[in-house]
Amino acid sequence: MVKASTDVGVPVWRPIGTTPVGGRSASRPAVVIVGAGPVGLTLALDLGRRGHHVVVLNRRDFIAGGSKAICFAKRTLDIWDRLGVGEAIVRRGVAWNVGKVYRGDRSEPIYSFDMLPVKQQKMPGFINLQQYLVEEMLVEALGAMPNVELRWGHEVVEVEPRADGVAATISAGAGQYELDASWLVACDGSRSPVRGMLGLDFEGRAFEDNFLIADIRLKQERAAERCFWFDPPANRGKSALLHRQPDDVWRLDFQLGWGIDRDAFTQPQNVEPYIRGMLGDVDFTPEWYSVYTFQCRRMARFVHGRVVFAGDSAHLVSPFGARGCNGGIADADNLGWKLDAVLEGRADERLIETYNDEAIATADENILNSTRSADFMTPRSSAAAALREAVLELAGDHAFARPFVNSGRLSTAVRYGATRLSSADEPEEAWAGIPPGSVASDAPTAAGWLLEHISKGRFVLLGQELSCAVPDGVVTVDISIIGDPDGLIAARFDLARGSAYLLRPDHYVAARWREPTAAAVAAAYARALGGE
């Protein structure tokens, strides 16, 4: 699997080759996306399906292999399902919902959690799938879209913001060319060259602890559950993690500590004791060994005129909780419909400012949770170590202490709470269900699933026996027509006859009413597009 490449040390999963510079479309793209990772490709798919001319530029002329994201959350799967790739990705991956946390030699877990606590939804809590396999599938889906150009081996070397767009200078093959677009979205990773070109900040904190990743191929009968150990026999005084991937590949992860010799630790003879300590005397084939550290950082602003940042270019988190790639896909999900509305003239640039606000809210929640996880897993003071020891001991014997055990709080859809785009409930109305600023739940319908019915890429008025008129741009979905066979939609949304929810194209609740009127819906819709 590991072949020579132009990037030293970067394995090539699939060589593609430099896209020829000549023969490109002459028309000005609406959006240039820098970076063909999962975030850039997801955004390209969304904008492409909406009919926009998009150019994606990737510096490398191959899909890179190696160890990157593997855990994709339900929210991400729902987003990909809306974009027509979810089912294929889930089929290729290994689904899991349950995580178990062990301590020391005890064979019973001290804590377990379920990432799909609300059952009967289309997508599982998580799937595990190698990032390069996801990228291949996204690239393939984009291949069917003539309005999206993927240019491999094209590197952005200069970015010039303008009042009505962005001009980029691109190096490809032996030469350079200029590319002008209305918007440029930098999905170019943690070392974001675009961020550097614009001289922008990236503040935060680096963590000193090193971790070893060992991806191995091995046949073993074992449930697809996330297994985490504090103080396992294989790694005394530290932690270990085990995930199942497709094709009998397993991800093992071991905490190594501070100030270690990284090169020594990736030597097979040094890695194997960890593997055998965890799994016993098994027959395995090494796929990949590497050592990593991590940082938690973010930009102060993600929107700079017509240049927008998404994914790792904008924010970095510790890997515990799988909030990195999933957080980036949430950015793409938030941005896609907003850029579309602005490009189509249905909204003005204030709507993109709300991407800044909502993506920062998401990043802050992800940074908070992953930092707290990292601090619990790698206590930085004797006081923190004592508190953690107390939690782990108590959790073994008492249920109340188990929720304190933090081996990673796994990624779920962020709740925006009070956002400029949502309308608060009427004060006299009593609601359970899903509040404005939260993401819609899925549920079975007569044929298929609720999220499938509301994934029109547009705003949806969801209700039961609706009679109120909707503005242009809003589609009505009535559960008396699509069916609610187990009453779960009515239950999960607290949806009585006549009640209605206004849902954004990204499935977030913008507003809801017991007695919707055309005027109220129109006002909430205008507000959800960034108007007053």
């Binding site: 004797s382 508190l387 020891e389 107390a390 939690v391 001991e393 108590l394």
Partner: protein, 73 residues
């Protein structure tokens, strides 16, 4: 919601004091912080009210002495 109770509610203060001293003296120095942490979690969970626990944490933190001359007993 009632805040942190600061009226005297322990029936036998000397008894509690002795019990806490005896508890901590059972252990070597390096174990004591874990034992105290266990007690914190047990009691915080029993209280169960985030605002009350937060208030207690604030009082536990205390305030710095305002002057070198100290205060009256």
């Amino acid at each position: 919601m009632a805040g942190l109770h600061l009226d005297a509610r322990i029936a036998c203060p000397d008894g509690l004091f002795e019990e806490l001293v005896l508890l901590l003296e059972e252990f070597p120095e390096e174990r004591r912080s874990v034992v105290q942490a266990r007690l914190i979690f047990l009691l915080a969970n029993h209280i169960g009210d985030d605002a009350v626990v937060h208030e207690a944490i604030g009082l536990a933190r205390g305030t710095p002495r305002s002057s070198e001359n100290g205060e009256a007993d």
